[in-house]
């Protein structure tokens, strides 16, 4: 099937450009950019001057398989992703049980086939994410693991961590860390400060992230492993990151879309949909981190999609589960940064598509002839009110419920095939 996208505002994150033109998708790849006319027999989609960008590559999506399929299945996550312009999901291993053996990895790989978008998997770094013994890193790499991470469990024993990192380095594996000092952050529900004190909630000082990052960077320097910090959310972590990159360590960093668009005051009257790990930060931190993404110091924006059922959220704030779903709200939320003038569209898609794909060794994320035809067609200005009951995810825990958003996905393509969209796009 050949698709001709005409009159598109083409976002190229690599070149940093936006141009009006046509695209030909054929054989699963972008066959031509800038072609004048539709090839014979091609399905023609008039984009009406709306944006076409590489589909989002989302590192760190929690899917409830195995163990919590009632919260999210590969199918529901895939539908949510397609509706949100996410064409590649990189799933987290914080499942029940954890993805820590090649057998479990094979199971999820099979299950993932029911999703309409591409799904890759990460594996746990240590067995059961318990921080005691490393997993079979080599077998897991062979089985398709893209990276190794214990997600929000910090490996506290530096001897264990050192061995795992050294072993991972010998295999060229990417390790994703959660920079957080586990002692300081133990039991915390929010960021410490005036607001936490007023609410009477246990808080964690932002220094816990800096200390965690400093430790991890020390371990990276010691072992030479390829390292990615999952979420950098505080201003005071940034100088350490700058230094590590300047010193030539193979280090990248990410941040979740929520930490870029919400701040600690959003918790308001104990709203558990605004509880995250790490917790939301004060506005000064948010602004500093947005600037770090714009400058490229922070490489990757991810959704940290974390489905949680009503029962685990309708609890007193301290006891409620942390995390929010985000696959479907990722792009509209990111448009807040665009409309606020903090970032341009090529810059956003560099952080949401190109950089994560590059870091994971995937061919996606590029707007180039020969690149995979994984694309999103969207209107960055279309306004709407978000209604969580209309979202595709099985869990509905979004902090954006009832909020005004701008930016709607019109159609999503994976390997040159339309997986989401209606109206004009179906013509």
């Amino acid at each position: 099937m050949t698709i001709f996208l005409q009159n598109a505002r083409i976002i190229d994150p690599e070149a940093g450009t936006e141009t009006i033109g046509n695209l030909i998708l054929d054989g699963g790849i972008i066959a031509a950019i800038g072609a004048a006319a539709a090839p014979k027999g091609a399905q023609v989609i008039d984009c009406g001057g709306k944006c076409v960008a590489p589909g989002i590559v989302d590192i760190g999506v929690k899917i409830g398989e195995p163990g919590e399929r009632h919260r999210e299945s590969f199918r529901s996550a895939g539908l949510a992703a397609a509706a949100g312009g996410v064409t590649t999901i990189v799933a987290r291993p914080d499942t029940k049980p954890a993805i820590d053996t090649p057998e479990v990895l094979e199971f999820v790989t099979r299950r993932a086939a029911e999703a309409p978008v591409r799904i890759h998997h990460m594996a746990a770094l240590t067995k059961g994410r318990e921080g005691r013994e490393m997993v079979e890193i080599s077998f897991m790499l062979d089985a398709g693991a893209l990276a190794f991470t214990d997600v929000d469990h910090v490996v506290t024993d530096t001897k264990v961590l050192g061995r795992a990192l050294t072993y991972a380095r010998s295999l060229g594996a990417l390790v994703i860390g959660h920079p957080q000092d586990p002692g300081l952050s133990k039991g915390a529900a929010v960021t410490s400060g005036k607001f936490a004190s007023l609410l009477g909630l246990p808080g964690v000082h932002p220094m816990a992230e800096r200390i965690g990052l400093d430790r991890d960077l020390g371990m990276v320097e010691m072992t030479g492993v390829r390292y990615h910090a999952d979420q950098i959310t505080c201003a005071r972590s940034l100088p350490a990151l700058t230094r590590a990159k300047r010193n030539g360590l193979d280090v990248t960093a990410g941040v979740s879309i929520h930490h870029l668009t919400l701040n600690d005051l959003d918790v308001g009257d104990y709203r558990s949909f605004f509880k995250f790990t790490p917790p939301l930060r004060p506005e000064e931190d948010r602004l500093a981190v947005v600037e770090a993404v714009a400058s490229g110091l922070i490489d990757i924006i991810c959704s940290m999609h974390t489905p949680a059922d009503e029962e685990s959220k309708r609890l007193p704030f301290e006891e409620a589960a942390a995390g929010a779903i985000a696959l479907e709200t990722f792009l509209p939320a990111a448009m807040r940064l665009y409309h606020a003038g903090a970032m341009d569209l090529p810059g956003l898609f560099r952080a949401m598509a190109l950089n994560p794909a590059k870091r994971l060794g995937l061919p996606q994320g590029r707007m180039a002839e020969g690149a995979p035809a994984d694309l999103v067609l969207f209107d960055p200005d279309a306004p709407f009110m978000l209604d969580r009951s209309k979202l595709q995810s099985k869990s509905k825990n979004t902090p954006f419920d009832g909020q005004r958003m701008e930016g709607r996905v019109i159609a999503t393509f994976v390997a040159g095939r339309q997986v989401f969209g209606e109206g004009n796009a179906h013509a």
């Binding site: 039991g187 009477g200 704030f317 301290e318």
Partner: protein, 320 residues
């Protein structure tokens, strides 16, 4: 009518005139409580349920007595050993109780914000009898009444709140109330028991108790909340008593007529010297207990009036 609140979840949501309305009415109930026949029909026909997820003797007794003196049917649910243990969630418990049509729900819970959460799910008036480290509004109101009766005013006073501020909902509610009524508030605590960012609340912060008490009109001691501590906030109780326990020498730095308060239960010899606590010329600790019943009567009376007005308006189809 100047008291507009539907629930009493915290001092945070009250305006100064609402606080004054509670105190004025409570004064009247103090008089009633000192008579031999201590009965009013303010809550006649109404049902009050006391739901204490955390054990409490004093506060629960105070609320129970307050409700009974106002003529309400009072039920005590000892939730600590009931269905909650069987895995029922807070919201399910609330919905179950709500189906029994209570008018006033008095709730204490160990988690900050739990009472707010519960209040969203029920149709009756909810009184917060203490939630985690968040608020304990009736305690702050009874403290304010005690101060007003002892000092003749609840404005332009220097109040030192001393001790375990970090774990104290009493401190939070008092800090907010005293600030709203335009007093000068000082917090005195070792830095490990001082919550983060507290200086931004518009109070002064001291870790030297003598300096903190300098010229104070009111010295409010807090209980060292050993049960809320997960270890290592202070080196030992004896060192704590040495530096932060209120004794005659430390009290001498406050004004000569300064009053001493404590929300109870006291750890004698930890945060307060027994002799000071019992000194009828300085200590108003027993008055605080007495004011507690009156203040709780006033709060429930005012909430019941609003509840009746709301229901009456609904019945006649008038929008409120």
């Amino acid at each position: 009518m100047s008291f507009r609140a539907r629930h009493l979840l915290g001092i945070q949501h009250l305006a100064p005139d609402e606080i004054k309305a509670v105190l004025d009415l409570a004064d009247k109930y103090v008089d009633l409580n000192r008579r031999s026949i201590k009965k009013s029909d303010a809550l006649a026909g109404m049902t009050q349920i006391n739901m204490f997820f955390e054990n409490s003797t004093r506060t629960q007794a105070s609320f129970e007595l307050a409700g009974k003196r106002l003529g309400a049917d009072v039920m005590n649910m000892s939730v600590a050993q009931s269905s909650v243990k069987k895995g029922e969630t807070l919201i399910d418990t609330a919905l179950t109780l709500n189906a029994m049509h209570p008018d006033l729900l008095v709730v204490r819970h160990g988690a900050s914000g739990a009472v707010n959460l519960l209040a969203e799910k029920v149709n009756c008036a909810v009184l917060n009898a203490g939630d985690g480290r968040h608020e304990h509004p009736t305690q702050a109101l009874l403290d304010a009444l005690t101060i007003r009766r002892a000092k003749g005013r609840i404005q332009r006073l220097t109040v030192a709140i001393c001790g375990d501020v970090a774990h104290s909902r009493v401190a939070r509610s008092n800090l907010i109330l005293l600030g709203k009524m335009e007093n000068r508030v000082r917090l005195v605590a070792p830095p490990t028991l001082m919550p983060a960012g507290v200086a931004e609340f518009g109070c002064e912060v001291f870790d030297d108790m003598r300096k903190g008490l300098e010229g104070a009109d009111v010295v409010m001691m807090l209980r060292l909340q050993k049960e809320r501590m997960d270890g290592g906030f202070i080196p030992s109780e004896r060192e704590y008593y040495h530096r932060y326990g209120l004794d005659a020498e430390k009290l001498s730095h406050a004004k000569p007529d300064a009053i001493v308060m404590h929300p109870g239960p006291m750890n004698r010899g930890v945060e307060i010297d027994g002799e000071i606590a019992d000194d009828i010329n300085r200590s108003v600790i027993q008055e605080q207990v007495e004011m507690g019943v009156a203040v709780r009567m006033a709060c429930m009376d005012l909430l019941a009036r609003n509840l009746r007005a709301e229901r009456g308006a609904k019945a006649t189809g008038v929008m409120v």
